[in-house]
Symmetry: D3
Subunit: 316 residues, 6 copies
């Protein structure tokens, strides 16, 4: 049996968020929460009793320690994190924005040691002793080094028979659609389950059509076992070994948005680890809704909450 | 003339609430507010210039003092509260829950001295020198002792010609529907005004049908002067000496829910004390809406706010 | 070229606001924010790179200093503010009110030195070295002295060829409709751009009909270059040199309402200064929406935010 | 037996305090706490199980209600408070000041209805059905009307055989030493227990010397049963029927100073009510120390805390 | 090599603390921090890179989860904690107390499942695969069951050649000195390192004299390898295989006291694990000082902070 | 007459501070305050009614705007600040540290645009239209470019007859003593008033002895009009045209330390601008004490507070 259910690697970040009702240009306090797309997925699964590990390069500073505590607290194995004596943490500032003001994100994540990782940075024998290895386009987007390392990880996992999960998660602030396609496309035939929103399918892979169309086209073109596509409030679409399916999305109030997408991916992979992606998408829709109810990129959830009724009465 | 307009007794509680945007499993602060269904009703009426008294058994601790101050501040007579040198306060923890997460309540209210009250605990000559005596199913639900004391209070009030108001307020975490029915049903012929939600009518008294049907059936079967039934957002139903009436309910945003039902009861009893339950339900609908706008089980209201217009314009 | 794009004068105020979820009758903390309708307009325009000055009479106290810092921070020229060694600041207490509770404002603004201003108080040569002079009905409403000074300012500006902008902004807590009309009507033929809500048109000027009707009637009767009328969530109406136009209004969540109307006026005047009131109303609708997203009467905005897209997706 | 142990009257105030680490000239939040020297004394004694009443004139506003709740919460009888439909609350702003910055108080307490009280305002038959009547120089200082009413109260109490307690409490921001002496001196032969700091003895009554000297001189000149004089950190001095005594004062950290002097007076009067002023001064020294440990003018104390040991160990 | 450097077991608690400047009798917010003497020691050592495990019985509630996250975050192995589907968390309320008010602790820790542990509860083969096993008098004090389990643990560890560390930590609110002595004394010949304050030596073991005397007498009577005795601000005393030594204690400001004693024990055991208790006491004095600078029973420390200079200059 | 009394340039920073009682490794909130040694000096003098300007290079981000508002609010002329469309703000994280934990500062200030300034960046004709130009060793320490620009500024000011004030302010985290000396020493003959602590005199300029000795030696060696040297709590030393003088320093509690040194410099320069450095040092000692009482690098002060008495009594 493998040591882990899922392993992953990515950048460790700290988010600094403006309190509701204030603006970054005038505020006196910021909420500090650790972040990182891959860490969020590992953290969600750890709370659902999956054995997960997250690898990264994190400076030996108090901010680094703050990050470590956040994910260790929920049981993620951080023994593969390289602690460097020097270096800065990746930061991002966020003004949540009340409607109609959209959230405003300012990255301050350049010049980190993580950007210099190579295939030699991590111990792949240990890290790939896992059922699933998860990678994202965010990490591939940072530098040529990180792109090369993602490529290596996918190929090495595939070579060892480890299932690969890829979340495209295109970020226009990090790379161009063309660069994203040129880095990610060569990996796709080694990917078992792909997460790719309709919009990313259009922008990165040049597809066209509504959500189900793009979702089906991705599978047709690249032959994944499973493709999962979100399309904002329009729905979530699945095609794969379990057929094709549309999941409606229910708009809900938002206390804190970042990390909701990662919680959707984490919940879906929880089903995937039980060989039931369709059930997983149901989990994911629940965990992503839960994600919006509390602060922080990491969603806090208990196994029992995967089945929460959603009615609340007004009086009594 | 009676000394009081309304007297009541029940357990004193402290609520510990997780701040919005956090979860109990991760939070570092809790909001502390005193609570108690009967105290809330007495407190609301005191603010509307009614003379009310609340009796209980409260330990001589700082938490006990915290409770006393909350209700004394609005003018409730607490001279009938027995202070015990020892004992713990009943607590409950609450995670308010953003939609779709429902509120999550964890009781920690066992082992209190109030659970050991008997008919000898209070001075009924003084406590029943009142126009109305108010009891709830919550108190009856706690222990055999409290059930016995509620029964005694209702019978003794009836014997003295004091009007009895009963709020069924069934709580599945405290007793079964069968036990509730066996304790409460023998009291019903001594009750002048009954508060019983449609759902409680179905669960506890085995009735069937929509709100107006259950409401009418309660009156028909037990012969109260007035029966008031809430049915979530569907409406409030009245049948009694003033005929039958349906009141629409308007959904409103919720800052803090607990106590809203008690404020509805309190507002309705304000009308009942003027021999106009129909006007009282209007008051109750207003006070229960107000209850949702601020923290705490006790609703803060002024007499002038019983008639608040509800339009708010967007620009200017 | 004029020294200023816009100058104005009015009372300096401090708002003390109850935190969400509490009531003034029980609260332990108040949010302190400076306020003043005319200062808000000058402050908004200063952030949009307009040269603005605000004149007033402000005591040499720490509260006075608090006011000064708020508007100086965004670049308003406060060199025309008279600092008096003595005197109190105008205050107002506000309970924001959750729906259905409307906001509850308690003025404590009597007995200030500003109420004693006369035409001699300010240096008009300097203050009217401007393209536009802005006055409001609020200032005219305070005392006979302030009414006289507003009248003087309008006449003097007109005499010097400075464009006059007037915001009727009728406040029933300050004066009667009859008094408002008797003070403001004589000034109207010197006003270039008038802001008058449909409701104020009805109450103060005896007009009738829906928003477009009242808006058109105002122009017809008094002959302004431009009339801008808000009508709550129904819309904003324009008639004037650029024709007649209706602007739909989109209801949005409210974090903090006060100052939103001033931001609408400020945004509109930003267009007026470019000879395009119709574009200005678009700016104003945006700035007034932004105003609702953060605390304080002064809206914080950057020039780039005049063109914010308003879609936000739910998942990803 | 009298209805009350102690009655008193004075102005109701609201204190608005800058949070530690901020300044009024820049702050965004203020702590709101009710205040009033006489109310503080009545509130302290009520917590020590004395029957006390406080009379005043308080507007029917939410700020007025805030004041009422604060003192009713601890059991003070407020049935003698006149509620006026109009009028403003007396306010004062405070910047606590970290050493070496002294606390900075800005009064905003003019123009209140309380300033217009006359001997006819209160029901003296009810208010003087008490063992002790307590008055302060603060109330006498406000206006000629308040001075006249204090004079009337002292004479009327004396006439009825009610003991009079007077706290000189000279405030240079309210009146001159000369005016204070001319108002207070005629009352002194009717006073049973006088509180007068060494400094006030020097400034108001023209005495000279150190604390014990001034303390003794006051008694010698005016013939009180008891005179209690504080002298900052130097000590507290007593002379009277129980002889002469010096009490050392222990400097302690200060979380919030206002009200500490009132707590000293209240504690001392607790002893006086048991015919033991010397024990009372011990109580007062304790309650005034406790006063400094928490926010608000009203000191929260339980009878058991009158005997608190003061050692705290560092490790374990 | 053993799996662990140190293992321990004890009760999991939640502390609810009144904010500075408020009192429990009036407060509206409580600070929530997990607690537990043995968990604190394990948590401190984990941060110093020691492999530690903590065993307990913790309900499967959100409060239970809150406790788990706190200690897992710093790397304590919690795999030996038994999660029960039901049961309440041990709570304690604390009013920190400003000088001269001592801290006021109210326990609400009865009726927990931990009180029912027996020697069969834990897997001793795994838990005693350690270099040191640590137990405290607090756990022994709770019930006969817990006393029996502590006895079993000490004997079993001794039998297996695992070093035993015992912290007497006498709590008068939990048991009598006589009961403490009767439970603990039979274990002492199996203890390698004893922590016992001078006061506990006097109260529990009937010793007399100053710190060094009691410290030496403990070793003489029971023959430990090492005895460490604190004596409030007077000093810390050591006698044992490394001779006898006195350590001065430096009084420091206190932000939050609870857990400081545990941090002293943890720091000392850090040296003990390197066979240098004298160096350990130096560590302990530092970690206990650090403990006082931040909230929570668990002290947050990095290995580098074991050597912090303590001078701070005033200007520049 | 010059346009300005004092001009200066330096880096704009944002400080992110851990709240008291928490640690960076665990905190969830940070206090955000703008910072910058030269800006602080300009900001202090602006509040004392001096005409000051601060030049810098600041990105057009919300953090940049936050910085601008802070110093514009007190009246500093920021028209010489270059706003760049891109670039990051210099940040620093601070854990204030309770005694004995010293404050812990983590710089994150690399890679800013300000580091690339050259003598061509600013408009020296406008910036040197001033009585005094102020520069610091901090700016000189950042890069070769900034060193070159400081050198240019000093020479150009000297050439134009503008007095030069230099604060050595050596920061070991930014450069070595050797590099500091090689950059600063060539400028010293053009400096009118030098600020150099005893410690910096020893480390950077190789001097020896106590404060007065080092202070005198600096003047002797380089021939300044005035030399001002701080020496922690030991005292402040002056030698120059007004003779030699020692100023005792009074230790005070610290709410927030950063910026206190700049306030000392600012206060001293306030006297220097009146040709009385000795009076200025008195001002500086006061403003630096005030600096410690509130949060933020910028000290908030009013002209009247230059003469604050420092006694505070305990009781009354």
């Amino acid at each position: 049996m493998s040591t882990y259910d899922l392993t992953t690697f990515g950048e460790a970040q700290i988010r600094l968020t403006v309190p509701k009702g204030d603006r970054l240009a005038t505020c006196r306090e910021l909420r500090l929460t650790p972040a990182g797309s891959e860490a969020n997925v590992a953290g969600l699964l750890a709370q659902l009793q999956r054995r997960t590990a997250f690898a990264s390069v994190v400076p030996k500073t108090d901010l680094g320690l703050r990050f470590m505590g956040e994910y260790r607290q929920v049981g993620v194995d951080l023994s593969h994190v390289i602690r460097t004596p020097e270096g800065r943490m990746a930061l991002y500032f966020m003004e949540p924005g009340e409607f109609p003001l959209p959230a405003k994100v300012t990255y301050d994540r350049l010049y980190t040691k993580f950007r210099e990782i190579t295939p030699d940075t991590f111990d792949w024998d240990a890290l790939l002793d896992t059922r699933v290895h998860f990678v994202t386009g965010i990490t591939a987007a940072l530098t040529e080094d990180t792109a090369r390392t993602v490529t290596f990880a996918v190929e090495e996992a595939y070579r060892r028979g480890v299932k690969v999960a890829l979340d495209v998660n295109f970020r226009a602030m990090l790379w161009t659609p063309e660069r994203a396609r040129s880095v990610l496309e060569p990996l796709l035939d080694k990917v078992s389950i792909l997460f790719c929103s309709r919009l990313d399918g259009v922008k990165v892979f040049g597809l066209e059509g509504d959500g189900p169309t793009v979702n089906a086209a991705l599978r047709e073109r690249y032959g994944f076992d499973h493709v999962v596509s979100t399309d904002s409030v329009n729905g979530v679409y699945y095609s794969g070994l379990q057929g094709a399916k549309v999941f409606p999305v229910q708009p809900v109030p938002v206390v804190d948005r970042p990390g909701a997408g990662d919680s959707f991916v984490g919940g879906t992979l929880h089903g995937y680890l039980d060989d039931d992606v369709v059930a997983g998408i149901d989990y994911g829709l629940r965990t992503s809704k839960l994600a919006l109810t509390h602060h922080g990129d990491l969603t806090h959830v208990t196994p029992g909450e995967l089945a929460i009724p959603t009615t609340t009465d007004i009086l009594r």
